[in-house]
Every structure is written in C-alpha cells, then in structure tokens.
Amino acid sequence: MKNTKKIMIVEDDSSISEMYKIKFEKEWFEVLVCENWLQSLSKIVDFRPNIILLDIMMPQMDWFEVLKAIKELTTTFSKTKIIIFSNLNSSKDIEKWLLYWADDYILKAQVTPKELIEKLQKYI
C-alpha cells in the first residue's frame, strides 16, 4: 500500500457513501463511513482522518455548530482538512459562512470521481 491516507465520509445515504468508499479505496485511502454528525464526532479522535468529507444536506444540528465542533476536535491533534461536499448551491452567503470553518466547498453534481480525487490529493 502506498501512502495510506485516512478519509472520513459523513453521508446518510448508504448507496452514495458506498460509491465513494469504492473509489477512495481504489486510490489507497483508508475510509471510514459515518451516517451522521454524532457518529462522526465520536470517532474523529480515534480515527484521526486527514480529510473529512461532509454532506451538509443532512438535517441534524446546526451546520455551523457542528463544523465548529469538528474543527475544535481536529486542531488538537492534526491538520485535518474539512471539505463540504453538497448539492446545496442556493446561497453564496451560506457558502461563505461555511468556508469560515471548512477548507473547501465542492458541489456534488459538478465533479467526476477523477476530479474529486485530484482535488483531495491537493490537501494531503
């Protein structure tokens, strides 16, 4: 295995998270899928991901609160990158706010698997 990097996927739709998992494992990532924020928060310290891929359509807690919590958890031990992966393209204001806590914002519909990997490679 060459340069194993850890990625945490937070996505409530298992058919979608499975599809990411397959692609990322092909690209030598170690993948952990979380179905929701709470699961993700409880596993961050143990898993120590290099990248967290967040789907923000999930209707749980307040986005900013969660992002803040994740950010605070991860800065204590490593330079984890938080990437928001979403189809929510309605408001630039929201995007700006999210980017205050997150490192990138990628629109789901606009990237192919190959392009997503290329973007992620930049962060590790």
Partner: protein, 365 residues
C-alpha cells in the same frame, strides 16, 4: 306637479327592486309585486306579519343588532348582503338598503327597504371562490411533486454518473475502445439528464421563491475568460467554433456572478447543442452608453417565428427540424427568463427558421 314626479320615481324604483315598508314596530305594511315574485309569498301572506318572517335562520343575530342600531338609533341608511328565505324555505340573496322615514321633528314614521336580487351572482361567486381554492391547492401539489420528484431522481442519477465515469477512467486493457465509446455516450446523456433534473429543481425553487441573489463587484472580462474554456471544450466536441467579440477592457460591474454564469452557460451551451457540426456561434458583448449588451447568435435555428412567443412557457417542447424524431424539453428558458426578470434585465429573441437565431440581453450599469 311634485306628486306626479314622485309617482314616476316610485314606479321605476318598484319596477326594478324588491321594495317593502314596515311600521315602527317592524310590521310589514307594504310589499311590491317584485317582492311576491321573488319570495313566492302572496301579498296577503306578508302584510301584517313581522318583517323577520322572511329572515333566514343562517343570518347571524349580531347583524340585526347593527341594523337596529343604524336605522333606529342613528337614524341612518343601513346596507348589507342578506340571505332571505322563500315560502318553500329555499333561500335567495339580496343586496339590501333599509332606511328610516322621518317626519319634520326627526321622528321615525316607518321603514323602507329596497333590495336587489343577487342570488345568481352570489352563487357564481361562491363557485368561483371554491374553484380558485381548489386550483391553488392543485398548483401547490404540482410544485411539491416537481420538487420531490427531482430530488429523488437526482441521487440515483448521480450514482449512475459516478460509476460510468469510473468505468471510463479504467485502464485501457480493461475496457476496450468500442465499449469506452458507448460508455461515453451513456455518460453524456446522463449528464444531460442531470441538468434537466437540476432545471426542474430550479423551477420548483423559483415557484417557492427559494432562490437568492448575491450581488458583488467583479471584473467582467476576467469572468468571461473563466467562463469560456468549458464552453469551448463543449464546442470542440461538436466542431463548432465560438467567435468572441468584446469591446471593453477590465470592466468592473456589480451583479450576481453565479446567475450571470447560469444565464450565459445556458444560452451558449444550448446554442452549441442546436448548431450542426462545422458551423459557428457568435458571442458578442459590448458597452453602449450605460448598458452592457450580450448577444449570442448561432447559424442554425430551431424556432419558427410563430413559436417565438411560446418558447418561454414551461415544458414547451421544440421539434428539432434536422433530426425530426427528437423532441427537446425546454426547461432552461423559463429559468433564464425568470433570472432576467428578477434582475431587471431584458431579453430579446430573434429568429429566422433554419437560418439563424439570436439571443440578446443587456444589463444596466
């Protein structure tokens, strides 16, 4: 002389309206023919009866308190729409005016009531209100359906697109050349389908007023430079040339970047889609006084003059006259039009069937 005039006034009033008189105790002392005709009571059945004899039990008591207060205490004319009952207990609606008749010492002598039968109008109004309510409900259901359907369609489409794209990226010895070609065709159509679904979502958002605008200052030349490469790639696949003419430099404008890019992307990519191979598309943008004009012209066209007014209707389908069998659904045009309208921009479309078509819009500086 005065008496003769008065008689004539009375005749016309009695001919046109339901008229009745009561004494101060509210006992009927006069009814005209029209009253008998509408209420189906004979004159004998009504005279000396209290006036509430014909009152419909549906009418609220408070209303009659107000009536008494107006005509007896304030000694003014009272008016309202009232439901009355006929002899067979069926009902009729009247626009009523009731007035006290006063002597020179301001004492009430009697009451006169003049009414117009508006039953037909009232029933029609009732029916219309009901059907408007029903239509609003249906419209809401349609919007909800559109929204839910497009949301639900998007996830499986995204997954299909993802796996096809993984297959295309596979090593050359795993997927042979022919299979790859077919996969690419599937991929392009899935992409097109996803765009349609996104357009559908946009439309339902427009209907629910859930689209926001974000205005900012930006360099229009840089913006166009960033926009063109992906469109040129698309054009290259079809061997279509995009000729660009811009007559300004480093122009800073205040607008919504993402909406402007949605507009131009929509118009240009559709121009590419409908232009046959080896033709060209012109994209002109120029500054004229206080307006920036955008003008997209392609060399082949799908809109006949008589269809021009129809193209902004939702779900209007246009028959591609070259490939006869294909119908395109135009979801993007109403979206384009909506964005333009919200931003106070104007769009004009000109077209000569099978020759050219031209989309032009401008934004004020």
């Amino acid at each position: 002389m005065e008496k003769r005039l008065l008689n004539q006034y009375t005749t016309i009033i009695e001919k046109a309206n339901i008229v009745s008189k009561t004494d101060v105790r509210w006992i009927i002392i006069h009814v005209n023919d029209k009253f008998c005709e509408v209420s189906w009571y004979s004159r004998e059945e009504l005279i000396w009866k209290p006036h509430n004899y014909i009152r419909h039990p549906d009418m609220p008591k408070e209303l009659f308190k107000d009536l008494w207060n107006t005509i007896k205490v304030k000694k003014q004319i009272w008016q309202w729409i009232i439901k009355n009952k006929k002899k067979d207990w069926s009902s009729y609606w009247v626009q009523s005016f009731i007035s006290p008749i006063l002597d020179d010492k301001w004492n009430i002598i009697e009451f006169v009531s003049v009414r117009t039968d508006i039953t037909d109008l009232y029933i029609t109004k009732d029916k219309l209100e009901q059907s408007i309510f029903k239509l609003q409900e249906l419209d809401q259901k349609k919007s909800d359906f559109l929204n839910i359907a497009s949301h639900e369609l998007r996830t499986p489409m995204t997954i299909i697109k993802w796996y096809i794209s993984m297959l295309i990226d596979w090593d050359i010895w795993k997927v042979d050349k022919e299979a790859r070609l077919y996969l690419e065709k599937i991929f392009n159509n899935v992409k097109w389908l996803l765009n349609l679904i996104n357009d559908m979502l946009d439309i339902s958002k427009i209907e629910a007023w859930k689209i926001w605008f974000f205005y900012e200052y930006f360099n229009l030349n840089e913006f166009i430079d960033n926009l063109l490469p992906s469109l040129k790639t698309l054009a290259l696949e079809k061997k279509v040339e995009i000729v660009v003419n811009i007559n300004y430099n480093n122009l800073i404008i205040y607008s919504d970047k993402s909406k402007l890019s949605q507009l131009l992307n929509n118009i240009i990519s559709n121009a590419i889609k409908f232009t046959p191979n080896n033709w060209k598309i012109e994209f002109n943008s120029y500054l004229d006084e206080d307006k920036i004009y955008f003008n997209i012209k392609d060399n082949w066209i799908w809109i006949s003059k008589k269809d021009l007014s129809k193209i902004f209707e939702k779900f209007w389908q246009v028959r591609n006259s070259l490939t006869r069998d294909i119908w395109w659904t135009w979801l993007w045009l109403p979206i384009v039009l909506w964005i333009l309208k919200e931003m106070w921009w104007e769009l004009t479309v000109k077209s000569r069937l099978n020759k050219w078509s031209e989309f032009m819009f401008y934004l004020p500086l």
